[in-house]
């Protein structure tokens, strides 16, 4: 709805849409998320009571006494156990010891499985998806497209520009982690910051675009970076914030007793403690940023179009706009490959390393 209004360029109606969304948000927050949030605190892994005890709201007693919710809580919310990677199944220890040749077999098999998991599966998924949506002829068309018309050069240049935009946006939004620390250490900040952030985070990024034109004039480069930030920053904030909330309070007490400086507290306690959340947040934020390019790099207001010079999102938008299906598929496939490669080669490794080293153990 808002997007339609915004395409028409009607600022008053956008303001009304903001207001309506705000009311809906406040209602869901008060009646659903707040009680749920307070209730979920029960699952925090903690041995010493924190100085500020929380008195649950009235609905939390409802959660406590309702049996189906208890069962749900028991089986669904299992604290302490990190989320298992999707493809990795946990098997119980074998009751017997393996002979060496059996071990060799298993190792070679696991290598094969790894090979499938890493290389074959993504390719298959892409092929199957393409096969469903297009036909073989279309695929050949796309391959031809890449080589015949210097398309590859254009796509690589565009992707580089887009990646640069995402990198700049990431660098700008990274300091939000300090607010996440403030939100767990300072109850005043928490009380005021969280509702404001909840409010801002709930709006789809395109809603802010008209106001960005007011702020940045017609500088599309700045606007596109701002749009990426407004859509992605919350992933970083909420993930770091939630991993900091799991920080056992006796560790906070230790750094207080040791009288560490603010910088020492940050490097020794808060930064390592938030790293798993920060990496998850970055993965989600940057993954989301690639999608946000479609909105950020090519903006239509009323009948006029504002666009960056190079960008994958821009190509996608233009291809969709003029109905060039080959170009659309070609650039889409290009983007998918970039995102999958980034995930496989970089994020997954970083994530595994960080979750291994920086988890609490009892």
């Amino acid at each position: 709805m808002t997007f339609i209004l915004f395409s028409l360029g009607d600022y008053n109606d956008i303001a009304i849409a903001f207001l309506l969304l705000f009311l809906a948000l406040v209602a869901t927050h008060m009646l659903f998320f707040r009680p749920l949030n307070i209730w979920s605190q029960k699952f925090k892994y903690e041995t010493t009571a924190e100085a500020t005890a929380k008195v649950p709201w009235f609905i939390s007693s409802f959660f406590r006494t309702t049996k189906p919710l208890k069962i749900l809580a028991k089986h669904v919310f299992i604290p302490r156990r990190p989320l298992a990677p999707i493809f990795k199944k946990q098997y119980a220890e074998p009751p017997y010891t393996l002979e060496s040749h059996e071990k060799d077999k298993i190792i070679s098999l696991s290598k094969l499985i790894k090979f499938f998991k890493w290389i074959i599966t993504p390719i298959f998924i892409i092929l199957i998806l393409l096969g469903v949506f297009l036909d073989l002829k279309a695929i050949i068309n796309i391959v031809n497209y890449y080589f015949k018309q210097d398309m590859l050069l254009l796509l690589v240049t565009s992707a580089a520009y887009s990646a640069l935009r995402i990198a700049i946006a990431t660098a700008i939004m990274l300091p939000i982690i300090f607010l996440a620390i403030l939100a767990v250490t300072n109850s005043f900040t928490k009380r005021f910051l969280l509702p404001i952030f909840l409010f801002l985070a709930s709006f789809p990024a395109p809603m802010f675009i008209p106001y960005m034109f007011i702020l940045f004039g017609n500088n599309v480069e700045l606007i596109s970076i701002a749009v990426i930030i407004s859509g992605s920053i919350w992933y970083i904030f909420y993930n770091t914030y939630s991993s900091l909330r799991l920080l056992p309070s006796d560790l906070k007490e230790v750094v207080e007793l040791s009288k560490l400086s603010k910088l020492q507290k940050f490097t020794k306690l808060y930064l390592p403690a938030m790293l798993p959340g920060l990496v998850t947040g970055l993965v989600t934020a940057i993954g989301g940023a690639w999608n946000a390019l479609i909105v950020a790099e090519w903006i239509q207001i009323g009948n006029s179009v504002y666009s960056v010079n190079f960008g994958l999102g821009k190509i996608l938008d233009e291809a969709a706009n003029i109905g060039d299906l080959n170009l659309l598929y070609a650039s889409l496939l290009f983007m998918v490959i970039i995102v999958v490669l980034l995930d496989r080669l970089f994020w997954k490794r970083l994530y595994n390393y960080v979750t291994n080293k920086f988890k609490y153990e009892t």
Binding site: T48, A51, V254, V255, L257, K259, K268, F358
Partner: protein, 259 residues
């Protein structure tokens, strides 16, 4: 110097708690956790605090540590009022509270990062303390690679690092298995006694046998709000054997006051 039989000697209260109260206020209600506790800790004294579960023992310990501000009352350390944490008072936690991403050595160094800015000196001292607590050779192990008893040893070395005058212990042995705990108890008593600066130990515990084994004086608190029910001097020479009739009579006496 020995910790026992201090009460007959001259009184040197190094820590005084004056009318300490702690009240949690919420929108709906007020909870009084601690009600007007007065306490004196003398030099070279090992004090145990016990009481029913949830009576506010740990809160009292955190008030002494300066982590929680009392609602009323004041704490004097060597005559000077205490505001917030100080290097002169350190703490040993029930769950060890080691930072999992730091090695044993780095964890020990942590509590003197500010006090000893010189890297080499700090490392040297931390190494020495790890040796004292019996962890020579484990300096570069991470907490998850150490057993529960070893982790608590690291935590004790960390608590000794700033040369404190008072060490607070919040159920330091309750998270360890029986043999480990009983081995560690006397060893720790000796380690702490050998510290040149340490003047007193305050331990919160539920384990009455442990209290009678270690403490010079036990302070028994009531249910919430916590008040001092009784102070008992434990007058048995060290090492104290559980088999002594005196030992079990002290245990029974304390249980009697706990109700």
């Amino acid at each position: 110097m020995s910790l026992e039989g201090i009460k007959e000697e001259s009184h040197h209260p190094i820590l005084i708690l004056k009318d300490i109260s702690f009240i949690i206020t919420n929108k709906q209600s007020k909870f009084e956790i601690i009600h007007k506790i007065n306490m004196e800790v003398n030099e070279k004294e090992f004090i145990a605090i016990t009481g029913p579960s949830g009576c506010g023992k740990s809160t009292l310990l955190r008030i002494i540590a300066g982590l929680i501000k009392p609602t009323n009352g004041e704490i004097l350390l060597e005559g000077k009022p205490l505001n917030g944490p100080t290097e002169k008072i350190t703490m040993v936690f029930q769950q060890f509270a080691l930072l999992p991403w730091l090695t044993a050595l780095e964890n020990v160094e942590l509590s003197a990062l500010r006090l000893i800015p010189d890297k080499e000196k700090r490392k040297e001292k931390a190494m020495k303390l790890l040796e004292i607590v019996g962890l020579a050779g484990f300096e570069y192990f991470y907490p998850k690679e150490l057993s529960g008893g070893m982790r608590q040893r690291v935590a004790i070395a960390r608590a000794l690092m700033p040369d404190p005058e008072i060490i607070l212990m919040d159920e330091p042995f309750s998270n360890l298995d029986q043999p480990t705990a009983s081995n560690l108890r006397y060893e720790i008593l000796n380690i702490l006694r050998s510290s040149p600066t340490l003047k007193a130990i305050i331990m919160v515990s539920h384990n009455i046998e442990e209290i009678v084994e270690l403490a010079d004086r036990v302070i028994i608190l009531s249910k919430r709000p916590a008040e001092v029910v009784k102070e008992i001097y434990i007058d048995i020479p060290h090492p104290r054997s559980v088999r002594l009739p005196k030992f079990s009579s002290y245990v029974d006496m304390i249980y009697g006051y706990l109700g």
